[in-house]
């Protein structure tokens, strides 16, 4: 049971990073369906950077650098995808849904091209990501449940809490939300709508890219898999599931993680039943969607201008 929870949390943090990134973008009014591709690019950029670093230094590896370099690379690579998305939708005013799907396809392609086989370097690098606090093992179940994780779990929670705080308690957050709710109003109030959308989307994509890297380096212990985009779609579903609130998403992501891996921990199922089990997060999301739209509460609605491009002089 404990192992199941720990595993659910580790997977959940991948969802959490992806959904926090998507939430930041969606709060600015960008429905970024490119997140699955962005997470792929983040993962492959991070892994590739780790590969370059390990190949360059050979033996004397600095643990801090082995963690920082892939994280920075993943963030930058993924943020670049966000830049592309923003350029297409803000500057060229392309349809957001179409652009997002194109980014997903492109991202999956780029990542498959960059990483064509798994490497032992990934598993070596992964050790630095999953290294937990040294005294965690001595504290029994408490240590295992709360302290046994690598850096990504704490990073994800910190990012989610920071995002939640910035969105609700600061002026930047207020401005960002206004851009997503009503860009014409924000514009008239002197807020640079384009800049907020660009920055929010790039940062959001960067964060989501970290999610892709955490999936490979933390959850899979460095074994490359070609299913990161599936995780990305769930991250988008998680945004809806947690009604655009990153702090709720911390719990939501663990629930998603648990549902996603439940089939492997419950014995006696065939392949088909296991696949059915993996649908649970989507079904839960649909139920939440139905529920929130029936209740029609102002607090749990998507940003009003989500998916709409803004052009000042349009009549």
């Amino acid at each position: 049971m404990l192992a199941f929870l720990v595993s659910a949390i580790r997977l959940g943090m991948t969802f959490l990073l992806g959904s926090t990134g998507e939430t930041i973008a969606e709060k600015s009014g960008h429905l970024n369906l490119g997140i699955p591709g962005v997470m792929c690019v983040g993962a492959s950029c991070g892994c590739f950077a780790e590969y370059l670093y390990f190949s360059a230094v050979k033996t004397n590896i600095v643990p801090v650098l082995a963690v920082i370099i892939p994280i920075v690379a993943a963030f930058i690579g993924a943020a670049f995808m966000g830049l592309m998305f923003s350029f297409l939708t803000v500057t060229l005013r392309a349809n957001q849904n179409v652009t997002g799907l194109a980014i997903t396809t492109l991202g999956v392609g780029i990542s498959n091209y960059m990483i064509d086989e798994t490497s032992t370097i990934f598993t070596k690098g992964s050790k630095y990501f999953t290294a937990s606090l040294p005294f965690a093992d001595d504290l029994g179940w408490f240590g295992e449940l709360f302290l046994s994780y690598g850096i990504f779990v704490y990073l994800a929670i910190a990012i989610a809490l920071t995002t939640s705080f910035v969105l609700s308690k600061t002026k930047v957050g207020l401005h960002l939300r206004s851009v997503g709710e009503n860009p014409a109003t924000a514009d008239a109030a002197g807020i640079n709508v384009s800049r907020y959308r660009y920055v929010a989307t790039c940062i959001g994509c960067g964060v989501a890219g970290l999610g892709g890297l955490s999936f490979i380096m933390d959850y899979l212990n460095g074994n490359w898999e070609y299913c990161i985009d599936a995780i990305g779609w769930l991250a988008i579903a998680l945004v809806i599931f947690t009604v655009w609130k990153p702090n709720l998403a911390i719990i939501g992501s663990i629930i998603f993680g648990a549902l996603y891996i439940a089939s492997t921990y419950i014995t006696g199922f065939g392949f088909a039943e296991k696949e059915l089990f993996k649908m649970l997060p989507y079904i839960v999301t649909i139920i939440v969607l139905v529920f929130t739209s029936i209740r029609n509460k102002k607090d749990s609605q998507p940003p009003a201008a989500l998916g709409l491009n803004y052009f000042r002089e349009e009549r």
């Binding site: 207020l174 401005h175 206004s178 709710e181 514009d187 008239a188 109030a189 002197g190 609605q301 000042r312």
Partner: protein
């Protein structure tokens, strides 16, 4: 006393593609005065003000603040020059509180502190006599409260020049009066106020001077005490026009639509129509007055079969045989199949009435698509209709193939009303058919409604300008929070009486048995 010029526009020109919105426009506003800007639709009033507020950037010309030339390239620049604009369509974020909307976009070094903001907002409200709760969310507010927030927004930024774009369009006479007294207090405080409006009597009552724009050009600026309605209209139109609506006596009126005790609820289960009964007669215009959102829309939709009722019935008498038909719980198509002809001009022109991306001809076909019996579209007949409407109603458009979205608001409205009337209805319902229209187009529409009335059509007219309702309608039904608070005679009623009925708290409804109430 020589006042200083606060804002000056010199030979401003602005074009949108091939459309000239402003041509060589000049304008001056003094400190501590209220300037009204008057003009037809498309005369460039709002465009000119948008340039001062930084929404658009002028192609040519200068803007001077306190005698110095400035460049205003964004709303932020406008704030820096202490210019604030209150737009016709409120620019507020629905899910934010009043205070959150007010501080939106303010860049100062101070830490973000909602309590301090609330305190400052309350200070301003007390100074000018507003009443508002800074913690209330916009989506829970009435229209007049929303407008108050808009005004507070610019005052909070310390604006000295306030531009109001048709501020009274959505207010009751009492709310308008309250707004005007606040504006006067601001003027006495030394602020310059520019007010754009279509309503002549408001121009005369509030402003110190009036600037008249015609076809994007500044025609004249006159001192309000030295002018009158006829002169202003002439300046505005460039010709004399008859401003009287001729109201003929209803001829052989018959009951056409009898609505008895209808009630309904909205999506959240709140009652929107409460026990409403009235009769619409042929050859008569029945006006409906009320504050926006009092149930007018639901009432019309109920009759058109678009809104489900929980109680009551609507009986329609066919013009030929006087045969009663119950419209209750019938779909719009069933209503048509019964031979019941209702035409409906929805409030939200582009949302419900027309498809913005389609051209005028295709929009004509939306009404008649069921007539065709062939697989292919026949565009000739709708084209003739479109051409006729463009000619009769003076719709300004390059041709009938222009997407409706590209027309200005007033012209969109003409297309819609024209199409509905062309369906030769026996009951014509029109909700705010002149909203946003200039004087000339409005009178065209009034005359169309009057023609329909003379042809024996039962016209139901939802209006917002009480002066017009009183001049046009034979009877006026006043609705408040989904209840009828009175039905008055359009010939004898006075404005204040209707205004009171509009705002009367519904608990006092039993006292409404005045002599005009039916």
């Amino acid at each position: 006393m020589a006042k200083k010029i606060a804002l000056e526009c010199r030979s401003i020109t602005k074009t949108f593609g091939s459309v000239v919105a402003n041509n060589n426009c000049n304008l001056e506003v003094m400190q501590g005065e209220i300037l009204a800007i008057l003009g037809e639709n498309g005369s460039g009033k709002t465009t000119l003000m948008n340039m001062v507020a930084g929404i658009y950037f002028p192609d040519e010309g200068q803007i001077l603040i306190d005698g110095e030339e400035v460049v205003i390239s964004s709303p932020k620049d406008a704030f820096n020059y202490k210019i604030g604009m209150i737009h016709q369509h409120f620019k507020l974020v629905d899910v934010f509180t009043a205070s959150e909307n007010i501080v939106l976009g303010i860049d100062d070094d101070k830490r973000f502190n909602m309590k301090a903001v609330n305190k400052k907002v309350i200070e301003i409200t007390q100074r000018y006599g507003f009443i508002i709760d800074p913690e209330k969310r916009i989506c829970d507010m009435s229209v007049s409260e929303k407008q108050t927030v808009e005004i507070l927004k610019v005052l909070y930024r310390g604006a000295d020049i306030l531009i109001l774009d048709e501020p009274t369009a959505v207010l009751t006479p009492q709310e308008t009066e309250k707004l005007f007294s606040i504006l006067r207090r601001m003027r006495d405080d030394g602020k310059s106020i520019i007010i754009i409006t279509h309503k002549m009597h408001e121009v005369l009552s509030i402003s110190d001077r009036v600037a008249v724009l015609r076809k994007g050009e500044h025609v004249a600026t006159v001192n309000t005490p030295e002018t009158n309605e006829a002169e202003l209209t002439e300046l505005m139109m460039g010709k004399k026009i008859d401003l009287n609506i001729k109201r003929s006596e209803p001829k052989n009126s018959k009951d056409r639509l009898v609505v008895s005790n209808i009630s309904s609820v909205n999506e959240e289960g709140r009652p929107v129509l409460d026990n409403i009964s009235f009769t619409a007669r042929s050859g008569e215009i029945l006006g409906i007055a009320g504050i926006a959102g009092s149930g007018q829309r639901e009432l019309l939709e109920a009759i058109a079969g678009l809104h489900k009722l929980t109680d009551g019935e609507i009986i329609y008498y066919t013009p030929e045989e006087n045969k009663p038909e119950n419209l209750r719980d019938k779909t719009p198509i069933q209503i048509r199949d019964l031979g019941v002809r209702l035409s409906f001009v929805p409030e939200d022109r582009l949302g419900m009435g027309l498809v913005g991306n389609m051209d005028i001809i295709d929009n004509m076909m939306l009404r008649s698509y069921r007539k065709g019996h062939s697989f292919f579209l026949k565009r000739r007949e709708p084209k003739n209709l479109a051409d006729r409407i463009i000619k009769d109603l003076e719709v300004v458009t390059p041709n009938a193939n222009t997407p409706v979205r590209n027309l200005s608001g007033g012209n969109v409205q003409k297309v819609l009303v024209g199409r509905e009337i062309a369906a030769s209805p026996s009951v014509l319902m029109a909700a705010y058919p002149v909203r946003g229209l200039d004087v000339n187009s409005s009178y065209t529409i009034y005359n169309l409604l009057n023609n329909q009335k003379e042809n024996g059509v039962a016209v139901i007219f939802v209006g917002e300008d009480l002066d017009v309702l009183l001049e046009l309608c034979d009877r006026i039904l006043v609705i408040n929070s989904g209840k009828i608070t009175g039905i008055v005679d359009g010939r004898t009623a006075v404005k204040d009486e209707i205004g009171l009925l509009m705002t009367k708290s519904t608990s006092l409804e039993e006292d409404a048995d005045g002599k005009e109430v039916q």
